[in-house]
């Protein structure tokens, strides 16, 4: 008696279909599982045997062999318990074999026969839909998460008994559904922070608005208590709301990382702010069983590195490649995984180790000490910040002022418009934002008139700028012009972009 059920395994952020074959034959009573299994999958044998017994199914004394194929891919995770149980029950004739053909089954078993939730349901269901499966059986707790995928029926089950009943009479059950529109509606209200809570800091806010509009990486420098962290936390509130496809992509990553927490989808922009003691692996992802790191969890959102110089130097250097590629590739002996990492990097730091430079009443750091502090960040990394701005300490009067500050919603509108312009301009070119412009594209899209060209040239000579800085200024100027709804880049836009250019040592305590 042979039977075959289908399940899937996570590979990177995608699901790979795995067929679960069970064979029951005469011979010494034995329950064996093969197919390059990790130890947690091998342990499924005990869980399945006892869960079946406790669900009222007695296994006859036969020789049972289960094979998970393709046999050359390592199987990991606990999602194979249920498909193995179903395959065995089918082999013994408890379930009609016809119904297994187009069904993907995922679930972990408890010894009493209950089905527990697993990680990565969303990408697995998504993969099933892509492969043409008609329905998925998932743990009840993961049902909402799976139901988000349209074009495939998703059924949540709570125990083996339920699963058997469902499979034998599939037509009379209704699949789980999720109202996606409602999910997104709710998301707008649950942001409890707003830009208007930050008093003053007009320059800093403006720089952040520009950075968000063009997805430019931004570095904020300022004394403690100048509101850098507070503003960074509010950046997601001015980013455009997530589109369904974007939400799907983020949710897939969160699903694999097990961070979905009963939510069907991630509907808000991610904001990740790892502590500076973070390791390389935790930041970019990896481990013997690769998991997405913070940079992937911040995909389409914000990765905030507070106190940048305090991070381990090697740790932040690994960001360089993902920042360019917008993805991270992790190679392991048996597979290569690629996780998306299209995040906006926001970093903050103090100007010196005491934090108050250039306020000489409070800072006693020598010029060399200040330079050494900045030197903790490598030049190549600094080069990846398109925008760099110094924050000013807010004084008491300003905190008291009752002036009305702009709300996140107002700023978001402008950001949305600027992004729309970019989307239209770059449609079909594989780039979405100004920050992604290559030098060739810069010539094409950041054309300057002779007057503006002249201005930039003067500044270039005067400020001793590098070619790299030149390109960055043009990219940022393009974004500022987009925010201004201006087709042409004018002197005003260039001037402002020059003001945000990255620090280059020369402007840091070198007072010559």
């Amino acid at each position: 008696m042979f039977s075959k059920a289908y399940s899937a395994v996570i590979h990177g952020i995608d699901g790979l279909i795995v067929s679960v074959e069970a064979d029951v034959s005469d011979g010494l009573p034995l329950f064996d599982m093969v197919g390059l299994l990790n130890s947690e999958v091998r342990e499924a044998r005990e869980r399945v045997r006892i869960a079946l017994k406790n669900s009222g199914y007695m296994l006859p004394a036969k020789r049972i062999t289960v094979n998970l194929s393709p046999a050359d891919i390592r199987k990991e995770g606990t999602a194979f318990d249920l498909p193995v149980a179903v395959a065995i029950l089918t082999a013994f004739g408890h379930i009609l074999e016809d119904n297994l053909k187009d069904t993907l089954i995922i679930g972990e078993l408890s010894l009493n026969g209950n089905i527990k939730k697993v990680n990565g349901v969303l990408p697995l269901v998504y993969a099933a839909k892509q492969q043409g499966f008609l329905r998925c059986i998932v743990p009840k707790d993961n049902a909402n998460e799976g139901a988000v995928v349209s074009g495939i029926k998703v059924y949540g089950v709570g125990s083996i008994k339920e699963a058997v009943e469902l499979l034998n009479d599939i037509e009379s059950y209704e699949p789980n559904t999720v109202d996606i529109g409602k999910l997104f509606e709710g998301s707008a209200n649950d942001e409890d922070v707003d830009f208007s809570e930050v008093v003053g800091q007009a320059a800093l806010k403006r720089a952040i608005e520009i950075a968000v509009s063009g997805m430019h990486n931004i570095l904020m420098i300022g004394p403690p208590g100048s509101g850098k962290t507070m503003l960074a936390k509010r950046i997601p509130t001015i980013m455009p709301e997530l589109l369904f496809e974007e939400s799907m992509e983020i949710s897939k990553i969160y699903s694999i990382a097990g961070l979905l927490d009963n939510r069907a989808l991630i509907t808000g922009r991610p904001f990740r702010s790892p502590h500076h003691s973070i390791t390389c692996t935790a930041l970019v992802g990896g481990g013997t069983i690769p998991k997405p790191g913070e940079i992937s969890l911040a995909h389409l959102g914000v990765l905030f590195l507070d106190e940048l110089p305090e991070f381990n130097k090697n740790t932040i250097e690994v960001l360089r490649q993902p920042l360019e590629e917008k993805a991270v590739t992790i190679a392991r002996l048996n597979a290569t995984y690629r996780y998306p990492a299209g995040f906006m990097l926001v970093a903050s730091m103090n100007p010196c180790s005491c934090g108050y430079f250039p306020d000489r009443n409070r800072c006693g750091c020598s010029v060399n000490m200040v330079k050494r502090y900045l030197g903790k960040i490598s030049k190549p990394l600094l080069d990846r910040f398109d925008i760099c701005i110094e924050a000013l300490q807010i004084d008491y009067q300003e905190l008291q002022s009752r002036e009305k500050e702009e709300t996140s919603a107002d700023i978001r509108k402008r950001v949305y418009n600027a992004r729309k312009i970019q989307m239209e301009r770059y449609a079909g070119q594989g780039i979405w934002f100004n920050c992604q412009l290559s030098p060739k594209n810069i010539i094409k899209y950041c054309r300057l008139d002779s007057k503006e060209k002249n201005l930039l040239e003067q500044a270039f000579v005067k400020m001793n700028l590098s070619a790299r800085a030149y390109h960055r200024i043009l990219k940022v100027a393009r974004t500022i012009a987009d925010l201004d709804m201006s087709e042409k880049i004018t002197a005003k836009h260039i001037s402002e972009a020059i003001c945000y250019r990255s620090i280059d040592g020369k402007y840091w305590g070198d007072w010559r």
């Binding site: 003053g200 320059a203 000489r360 000013l392 003067q458 402007y507 840091w508």
Partner: protein
């Protein structure tokens, strides 16, 4: 080797003995010349020690050991060759050209090394000293005052340290004036290293002066010692920024002992960096708000006083700036202002403000000492 050169060798030998100048002079007086002192037997040396002690000059056994230890003409020759190769020159108290001002202080150096042009005797000398970790205000004031004074033919001396010292030299050089750096380390060592350009440039019209021979490291106790040379060589001492307890105040104390004019640049009462200067003013130092305040104290310079503008920034800008640019420029002063403050003060929107700021920056009227903070560029000689 002719006779003169031999004499020089013995002078260099006796000058490089690390004992007080008056003791060296006493040895020379006792023996008649450095050469005779060199060839005196150990017995004669001991005899000399006894005689000097009887005369009331405290000449210890350790002093004698120091003299005997250096008696190595081969070594002295080597030093002489090195000095000549490095174009280092020196003066001893036996030379006529040894600066008179220095000769008369308590504990003058017997031997003075220098590079560059000899210190002119007929010119007024003003020293400008102050904090190493200075503010932009101190920096600009130093450059301005040094430039204005140097422009009138006054020699600017300072210690070639970081901060105010460097900016005083820079200001004087910018005005194509004469400036000397008095070092607290060997004459051939540039300390701090980042001042190497200054170190080289100053030698064209001015020079470097040190009482320490080649290869002597910059040790902490050398610096108060070199301050006595700075104060002695100068006719007036200007303190630009000094904290309440500052090394610059040592120079001032020495200067007071030597009867020099003391000038202090006042600062805001809340600035820690100006506390020392303000205290000096309280105690009677002359507050300096313009170069005239210094020039008027020296006969011969008061007539050309009028040429120097009384304010650092009184250049006529009419026609050069638009009214908005002028408005922005008027707000910016010598204490760096952040764009945030400028937005509040001018009321311009960010983009426009940046446009004016960049335009002013390109016209060399303002600059950013620290990113996103703007300060005036003090211009004098346009």
């Amino acid at each position: 080797m002719n006779k003169d050169n031999r004499q020089e060798l013995y002078k260099l030998w006796i000058g490089s003995i690390p004992i007080k100048a008056y003791k060296i002079k006493a040895i020379i007086e006792y023996f008649g010349s450095p050469e005779d002192a060199y060839y005196a037997s150990d017995h004669a040396m001991e005899e000399m020690m006894r005689t000097l002690n009887n005369e009331g000059i405290r000449f210890t056994k350790r002093n004698l050991d120091a003299v005997l230890l250096r008696k190595d003409l081969g070594m002295v020759k080597k030093n002489m060759e090195y000095i000549q190769k490095q174009s280092i020159k020196y003066l001893t108290m036996l030379d006529e050209s040894y600066p008179g001002k220095l000769r008369n202080i308590y504990d003058p150096p017997f031997l003075l090394y220098y590079k560059g042009v000899p210190l002119p005797d007929d010119k007024r000398v003003i020293s400008i000293v102050g904090a190493r970790e200075c503010s932009v205000y101190g920096r600009e004031t130093a450059k301005y005052l040094a430039g204005a004074l140097a422009n009138e033919g006054i020699v600017i001396i300072s210690g070639l340290a970081r901060g105010i010292d460097s900016y005083a030299h820079i200001g004087a050089l910018a005005a194509e004036g004469v400036t000397y750096g008095i070092m607290g380390c060997g004459i051939d060592i540039c300390y701090p290293v980042e001042n190497i350009n200054l170190y080289m440039d100053m030698q064209a019209n001015g020079g470097i002066i040190s009482e320490y021979g080649p290869g002597v490291n910059p040790l902490a106790y050398h610096f108060p010692m070199r301050n006595r040379i700075i104060s002695a060589l100068s006719d007036g001492i200007v303190v630009i920024e000094a904290k309440e307890k500052s090394g610059s105040l040592i120079t001032v104390d020495l200067g007071l002992e030597q009867g020099k004019n003391i000038y202090a640049v006042p600062g805001r009462i809340t600035d820690k960096l100006s506390a020392g200067c303000n205290n000096l003013i309280k105690m009677g130092a002359k507050p300096v708000t313009s170069p005239q305040d210094i020039l008027e104290d020296f006969p011969g310079y008061d007539s050309i006083m009028q040429k120097v503008s009384s304010q650092p920034d009184q250049i006529k800008l009419t026609g050069l700036l638009s009214s908005e640019e002028q408005a922005v420029y008027d707000i910016i002063d010598l204490s760096p202002k952040h764009i945030e403050e400028l937005i509040c003060l001018t009321g311009f929107e960010m983009g426009k403000l940046m446009e004016y700021l960049l335009s002013l920056e390109l016209k060399d009227l303002i600059y950013q000492p620290v990113k996103n903070r703007y300060t005036r560029n003090v211009k004098l000689f346009t």
